[in-house]
Symmetry: C2
Subunit: 245 residues, 2 copies
DNA sequence: CGACGTGTTGATCTCTCTCAATTAGAGTGG
DNA sequence: CCACTCTAATTGAGAGAGATCAACACGTCG
């Protein structure tokens, strides 16, 4: 596959991304291994695997998850273009979580020591990476609050709002439009700590209330205000901007 | 208060901490503001507060939390000596979570731009900070799995094991000993997404099974193997070593 | 001594889970 | 073109883990 040069990366044009100097981009591109295409459903990192790849998600959606022995699965968070994959995993350790593609996906892969190289050669980028890690944590924090303390309806309202915002920030165009939403009810259930059946019933309820619509894998929020009120969401909390190495 | 010099920091003697060169420690100490003593129950960072402090926990226990408007509270994770406080908070933003002291606490406080200073002047330390942030995230990941997919008994077993391991790693001495455990059942409930009453009943059940004992704020695991089996815990996952700037 | 925080226990109540069955659409092979 | 299979969504019924409500015990403290 013909790899996109970093300076021409379309993700850079988005306002949510951090600015980098041309020199920084040159270094980043020189470190990059290649771009890799993977099919929807592919496992990018297996739980417990050693030496998994380090990558950024160039296109497509994925998710991080952990499973218990008997198969219960918890989705930790969803990964959208610009997100890091495999940052948590220290050099030779095994990955504490799995990563799976929700759609066809393009990864920019890097050698395992890239994080260290960047810190050493480009402190400003190293700093951004720290901030990125801290930011991903606050997304997980937010999920933990939902799963721990919100009711099923509140959790779902929250998830719809958060994913809508993240997706629309990546999709230039008027607000209020529909955004890609490539996840099944099973994914929602696994992300929110709910059963599939209850997820379906609750989703149905919100749908009948006219709060959202999903058509052909695209989500529209018909009443964002009502959803935010239902989710007990401050609107503060996690800022939506996400940097990219 | 007489501040402990960083090179003499007792935390450094612990095997779980990262090694730093004398030069690095000198820079770190030069950046440090002071040491601050705060009482048990004190709020270190208020939710939504701007310009909160940046600090490391030198002594004592604390916890991070978020609350919903109606008062429901979720504890995100517990902070033990050596942990960072306020790393998530970008410069001028408001803090996405609160931090409260569980015991009397001593903080080593730093100016807000210390993270950047360290990245710039000591890339190796910057790298450690990135790893620390990623590591704290995996603790939250683990909590999310518990709250989302484990039963009450499993969650409590998990929490007892995890806190015991973290605390005993900081407390030189024979394994199998008792460790400080300065949290109430209300804290456990808020960390695990359970009600206080159900937490009490479940705790009681595990106690009657002879799995643990808490005496005068100190925890002993009487049957760690049974607890691990109950928690469906692999033992892999989050490594226990934690670095310190 | 009364107020308060923490732990404990019993009695309901209900939100969510589990089990079961049905529908609809997409893909596949004959 | 049509059975056949699979996945995803849907709905009803019954069961259960955990929530809520209410008391009470105990120790500390001003």
């Amino acid at each position: 596959m013909q790899a996109t040069p970093c300076p021409k990366c379309p993700l850079r044009a988005l306002s949510v991304m951090l600015a980098n100097t041309p020199e920084e981009l040159a270094v980043i591109e020189s470190l990059r291994d290649s771009q890799t295409l993977l099919r929807a459903g592919a496992t990018l990192i297996r739980e417990g695997e050693r030496g998994g790849r380090l990558a950024t998600l160039f296109a497509g959606w994925a998710f991080r998850y952990k499973t218990l022995r008997d198969g219960r699965r918890q989705i930790l968070n969803f990964l959208l273009p610009g997100d890091f994959i495999g940052l948590q995993q220290k050099m030779t350790d095994e990955s504490p979580h799995g990563v799976e593609a929700l759609t066809d996906v393009v990864l920019c892969t890097f050698p395992r020591d890239t994080v260290w190289q960047l810190h050493q050669r480009l402190p400003a980028v190293g700093y951004d990476i720290t901030w990125l890690a801290a930011h991903e944590e606050s997304i997980v924090d937010e999920n933990l609050v939902s799963v721990g303390r919100r009711t099923a309806a509140e959790r779902i309202a929250m998830l719809l709002i958060r994913l809508y915002k993240r997706a629309s920030a990546l999709q230039p165009g008027a607000p209020g439009r529909s955004v890609l939403f490539p996840i099944t009810q099973q994914h929602i259930a696994d992300a929110l700590g709910l059963s599939l059946v209850h997820t379906n019933k609750t989703l149905r309820r919100l749908h009948k209330l006219g709060l959202y619509r999903i058509v052909e894998g695209h989500l529209v929020l018909l009443d964002p205000g009502a959803l935010e009120r239902m989710a007990d969401w401050y609107g503060t909390g996690v800022p939506e901007a996400r940097p990219l190495i």
